[in-house]
């Protein structure tokens, strides 16, 4: 695909690619930490359909370790419970991460994921030149057609969208995010019962069941974590919405079963409503007929008498 000038070919007439194909030009230098974080956050936003946002206020590393320990324990229990119920869901406890995010960079990543659309632009190089052939073909400057997360095109298009997303008012101050690879209400409930039991009213483990949870390190750390909101499949949910999602019984399968049951009952309801008119008419006529027959029986008997 790339035509790279080699010493054996006359360089004046060979097409030259100005950058290696694996490293397209970016608006910001890709080796900087902020660029790497931006790519990590865009990846996170695209691959984690469920994420919960918290404000973290000066937690110590010991407290973070302790909280993550308790969280992992609770999530593994949720996994085991799913297996015990016999549901064929992959265990996701190891893929659920509680991490601190750089709020400013995260806000930019959110804008990229939610607002930017390439409009059919492709980043393919046009007119690929076969290296051994000499030609005067120039590989055009493809910077304008590149639409990767760090490209100039993306930067220019999302530059003016600051603060326009639903979530942008929440993206201030110190932020921590717990991300789930699938939307799993059981795991959400398990994690919220550990991280914010008071606000979500999901009961925390008791002292007998889990004495490690009531350790002073964990408790002081949790006091400094504040639940903000949840982002589920691109939608923003506040505390009440998150409580509802966490309380869905049986997970997504259970929700589908409930939906099917609701649709079926709705169908039968319509059918009975439509039938109802004719049914009531039939019943009225039947009762009238039985009354008339009874009268006929009476009158001939009276006549005979």
């Amino acid at each position: 695909m790339a035509a790279i000038a080699t010493s054996s070919i006359d360089t004046s007439t060979t097409a030259v690619l100005r950058h290696p194909p694996s490293q397209p030009p970016s608006h910001r230098r890709p080796e900087e930490r902020r660029s790497q974080l931006l790519r990590q956050y865009t990846s996170l936003l695209r691959t984690a359909p469920l994420m919960v946002l918290f404000q973290h206020n000066n937690l110590q590393s010991v407290e973070w370790t302790a909280i993550r320990r308790e969280l992992n324990q609770a999530l593994r229990k949720a996994d085991e419970q799913q297996v015990a119920e016999g549901r064929n869901l992959p265990p996701i406890a190891s893929r659920i991460k509680l991490q601190i995010v750089q709020t400013g960079i995260f806000e930019v990543a959110l804008r990229i994921v939610e607002c930017f659309r390439p409009n059919g632009q492709t980043a393919r190089l046009s007119g690929a030149v076969d290296p051994p052939k000499q030609s005067s073909a120039e590989i055009p400057d493809d910077t304008a057609s590149l639409t990767h997360d760090l490209s100039r095109v993306v930067h220019d298009s999302i530059m003016n969208h600051k603060g326009k997303h639903e979530l942008s008012t929440l993206l201030t101050g110190p932020l921590a995010i717990i991300s789930f690879p699938h939307v799993s209400p059981e795991h959400l409930k398990a994690s919220l019962s550990i991280l914010s039991p008071k606000t979500t009213k999901f009961s925390a483990p008791t002292r007998k069941a889990n004495p490690g949870y009531h350790d002073i390190t964990v408790q002081e750390g949790l006091q400094k974590l504040m639940f903000l909101a949840a982002r589920v499949d691109g939608e923003v949910f506040d505390i009440d919405g998150t409580k509802w999602i966490g309380s869905i019984e049986g997970g997504m399968d259970g929700l589908r079963v409930q939906l099917i049951a609701a649709l079926q009952s709705m169908g039968s309801g319509i059918a009975s409503a439509l039938e109802g008119a004719s049914k009531s008419l039939y019943l009225t006529l039947e009762s009238r007929r039985s009354v008339l027959e009874a009268e006929e029986k009476d009158t001939p008997e009276k006549g005979e008498l």
Binding site: N57, N58, L170, T172, P174, K224, D238, D240
Partner: protein
């Protein structure tokens, strides 16, 4: 400008995180709540109570700060459209007076 956190004894606030007016409340919370002020046994313990309002609540964010010596400062952050700088200025002003009084007393 630094806030004299050791003069603050209590911090109560009510806000909805979805409101842009609540930004100073959240930032002030992150300034006050740290490993020195959280433990009950600490000398500079601050009693922090946060009420999170629902998303579509029309109630404006506000905060109440109590200082050592009984002084109370109520800031209507939403009504006065205060920024974090204004909040810090007001709290620091009161706090520094108290700090000076206490250092003079002995």
């Amino acid at each position: 400008m630094t806030i004299p956190v050791q003069t603050i004894t209590s911090f109560r606030t009510a806000f909805s995180p979805f409101s842009p007016l609540a930004r100073p409340c959240r930032i002030f919370l992150s300034l006050l709540q740290n490993p020195r002020t959280t433990p009950l046994s600490s000398a500079s313990h601050v009693d922090i109570k946060v009420i999170q309002l629902p998303r579509n609540s029309t109630q404006l964010p506000e905060m109440t700060i109590e200082f050592r010596g009984g002084k109370q400062l109520q800031l209507e952050v939403g009504k006065r459209k205060m920024k974090i700088g204004d909040v810090i200025e007001e709290v620091s002003r009161v706090g520094r007076i108290i700090e000076r009084d206490q250092s003079l007393k002995g």
